[in-house]
C-alpha cells in the first residue's frame, strides 16, 4: 500500500463530498431531523389514553368513580356515551381505546352483596396499548376497593381479616422512572447511524461505475485496499460527526442519563461506524447499478435495524430462530452497548460480548470489502 496513493484517493473523495453540498447537507442535517422526529415520536408511554364512559347508573358513587379515572391523569375521557350502540361505534371508529361501562344497578348490587363489576371494553387491536390501559384501569379499581375496605373496616371497627397481607415493594433499576424515552433513544441513535452510514458509502463505487470514472481508476496502479480506505476514511469522519451530534442530543436535549465512560462510548461508536460504512461500501462494490445498490442498502438497514436490533422489540421475546438471525443484525450489539453505557454505567468489561460482536463484524466486513473489489471490468 502506498501512502501517496491512499492520500490521493482520500483527498479526491473528500473533495467530491464537499462538492455535493446537497448530499453533504442531507448527511449532516438528517441526523438532527431524525433525532427530533424519532426522539419525540418513538414513545410507548401513553400518558393520556383516550377512553369513553357509559355510566348507566349516573349516581353519586359512580360519578365519583368516573372522576377517579379523570383525576388519575392516565386517561382523557373523550366522550360520555349514552347507549350500547354508542360504545360499539366509538370502538369501531377508533375514537377510544377503551369504553368503561358502569351497570345501571351498580350501587345497589355493591351495597347488597358487597361485590359489583364494571365492564371495560377494549379495542384490543393494539395489544400493547390496551394492556397498558388495562393496567391503569386495574390500578384505579384497586384504589376504589381499598377505599371501600377502609370504610368498611371503620364501620365495623375491625380489620378485614386476622391475617397479614403482602406489601409489594416494586423497585426499578437503571431507568427509575420507566420512561420509554430513556430506553428507546439510544436505539434511535443506532438506527440513524446505521441508515446514514449505509447511505453515505453505498453509492460511492456504483457512482464511479455509472459515470465511467471507474474504468479509468482501475487502469491505474491503485490497489483495491487503497480504493477502499480512500473512500471509507473521509466518510468515517462524516459518520463520526453525525454520531457526536446524535449522542450529544441524546444527553443534552432528551436528558437521557449518561452514566458510563466516554472512552468506551467512543470506541464502540468508531467500531460501529466502521461496520456500517464498510457494509455500504461492500454493497456498492458488489452492485454496479446505483438503483439496485440503494434498494439493497435500504433493505438490509432500515427494517432489520428497526425490528431486529432490539431497539423496539426485545430480542429475548422472539422465537429462537429469529433470535439466531439477530446475531447478524449488527446494530443489536451497538444498541446493547449504548443502553449499557447510558443507563447501567456498564464498563468495557461488562460489555465484552457485544463489543466482541462488533469487532468480529468490523474485521469481517473490512476483510470482505477489501476482497470484494476486483480491478477488472468483467
Amino acid at each position: 500500500m502506498s501512502p501517496r496513493r491512499l492520500f490521493a484517493m482520500m483527498y479526491k473523495e473528500a473533495l467530491q463530498i464537499l462538492r455535493d453540498p446537497r448530499s453533504l447537507a442531507i448527511a449532516l442535517v438528517m441526523p438532527l431531523m431524525q433525532m427530533g422526529l424519532l426522539g419525540y415520536g418513538v414513545s410507548l408511554d401513553i400518558k393520556h389514553v383516550p377512553i369513553c364512559v357509559y355510566d348507566q347508573e349516573n349516581s353519586q358513587l359512580t360519578r365519583s368513580i368516573v372522576s377517579r379515572f379523570d383525576a388519575a391523569g392516565w386517561f382523557s375521557i373523550d366522550r360520555r356515551l349514552h347507549s350500547q350502540a354508542g360504545v360499539r361505534h366509538a370502538i369501531d371508529a377508533g375514537e377510544c381505546i377503551a369504553a368503561v361501562v358502569i351497570p345501571v344497578d351498580f350501587s345497589r348490587t355493591l351495597a347488597s352483596t358487597g361485590a359489583a363489576s364494571i365492564q371495560a371494553v377494549f379495542d384490543a387491536t393494539d395489544v400493547n396499548t390496551s394492556n397498558i390501559a388495562q393496567g391503569y384501569l386495574q390500578g384505579i379499581v384497586a384504589g376504589v376497593n381499598a377505599e371501600i375496605e377502609t370504610r368498611w373496616s371503620a364501620a365495623h371497627g375491625v380489620r378485614a381479616s386476622g391475617v397479614g397481607r403482602i406489601d409489594l415493594q416494586p423497585g426499578t433499576w437503571f431507568n427509575e422512572t420507566l420512561d420509554s424515552r430513556n430506553f428507546i433513544i439510544p436505539g434511535v441513535v443506532a438506527v440513524i447511524l446505521a441508515l446514514i452510514g449505509a447511505q453515505l458509502t453505498s453509492l460511492t463505487v456504483s457512482r464511479e461505475w455509472e459515470r465511467g470514472t471507474m474504468e479509468q481508476l482501475i487502469s491505474t496502479p491503485v490497489t483495491a485496499l487503497e480504493v477502499m480506505l480512500g473512500k471509507l476514511i473521509p466518510y468515517f469522519v462524516v459518520g463520526m460527526i453525525d454520531a457526536a451530534v446524535c449522542l450529544a442530543l441524546t444527553v443534552f436535549w432528551f436528558d437521557v442519563p449518561f452514566r458510563g465512560n466516554l472512552l468506551t462510548l467512543f470506541a464502540a461508536t468508531a467500531l460501529f461506524s466502521l461496520v456500517v460504512l464498510g457494509i455500504g461500501y461492500m454493497i456498492s462494490v458488489r452492485i454496479r447499478s446505483q438503483l439496485a445498490a440503494s434498494q439493497i442498502a435500504l433493505l438490509v438497514t432500515l427494517l432489520p435495524t428497526t425490528l431486529l436490533s432490539g431497539y423496539t422489540f426485545p430480542i429475548d421475546q422472539m422465537p429462537r430462530v429469529i433470535q439466531a438471525i439477530t446475531l447478524i443484525v449488527y446494530p443489536r450489539y451497538y444498541v446493547t452497548i449504548l443502553r449499557g453505557i447510558f443507563l447501567k454505567a456498564s464498563t468495557l468489561f461488562d460489555l465484552w460480548q457485544p463489543l466482541l460482536g462488533l469487532v468480529v463484524f468490523a474485521i469481517l466486513i473490512v476483510w470482505l470489502a477489501s476482497r470484494a473489489f476486483h480491478k477488472r471490468l468483467d
Binding site: 484517493m9 483527498y11 467530491q16 465511467g212 479509468q216
Partner: protein, 324 residues
Amino acid sequence: MSAPPPGTGSADDAVIAEGLTKRFGAFTAVDRVTLRIARGEVMGFIGPNGAGKSTTIRMLCGLVEPSEGRASVAGFDVGSQSQAVREHIGYMSQKFSLYGDLTVRENLRFFAGIYRVPAGEFAGRMRYAVSMAGLEGQENTRVATLAGGWKQRLALGCAILHHPPVLFLDEPTSGVEPEARRRFWDLIHDLAANGVTTLVSTHYMEEAEYCNRIALIDRGKLIASGSPGELRQRGLGGVLYELECSPLGAALEALRGVPGILEAAIFGDRLHVVADSGAAGTADLTGLLRGRGVAVGSIRPALPTLEDVFVHLVARGLETRAVG
C-alpha cells in the same frame, strides 16, 4: 491474409499479443488476435463499432481477462504482472472518464497522486499537461463544464502525467470536432517523437493515415496490418485501375470472368478494376474492351484509399466465411 506474418518484431517490442481471445458466452468478441508494436510506434486500430477494438485494448491494459492467449506490455506479462503493467501504461477509455465534479487541477493532482508522480516534478508536469490541453487559465474550472475537445485533451494529459512508455487510447477522438481532432493527433505524434508507444483505436478512416502502422479488425479478427502505404499497395491483392469508358454496363459484362481480373465495379461514372499485379497491363485491358465494342476514354492506375482496402478485405472475409 487472415493474420499478419509473424516474427517480424523483436523481443523488446512494447506490446506483444499472441492469440488473444475473448469470449462472452457463445459470442467471440476477439478472436486470436496476434500483434506486435515496436517502441515509439503509433499503431492505429481500425474497425467498425463492435469489431473488438475496445475489448482488445482492455485486455492489453489488464481490465478484462483474456479467455485465451497471452500478452505483454512494456515487458511485463499482462496476466501475472498486472500491477507493473498498470504502472507503465496510460489509458484513455472510450467514454469520458475524469471526475466531472473536480476541477482541472484537482483531476491532475489526483492522477499524479495515484501514479506517485514525484512531488518535485508535479508542478512542471501539470504545467505541461495544462498547456498541452490548451487549458491555461482554466485550472480551476470544473471539468464537467469543459467542451468535448478540451475534455479529451485533459484526459490525455491525465493519462501521460506519469510519463508512461505505452499509451492505450480507445477512440479518443470520437465526437470531437475535426479541428480538435487534428490537434489531438499532433499531440500523439509529439509523444511518439519522445519514444512513447501508442495504440490508438478509431473508426475514422482518415485518421488511419496519421499512424505509423495500422491493424484492421473486423468481427473480432485481425484481417490486415501494415503501414498505410503498404496496405494501399498490397491491400487489394492487385493493381487498381480507373477507367473512363462507355457503355459502363457492357464494359462490366466484358470483364467478368476474364482471367487476371480480380474485381470490377462501377464507381460513379467510371469503372474500378482490380487486376492481378503483372497479369494485366493497361494495354491488355484497352484491347480487351475495344474488342467488345466499348469506347475507352482513359485508363490509369489509381491508389486505393484505406477505405477501399478495408471494404475489400471485409467483403472477402465474408465470401470466404460464406464458402467455408
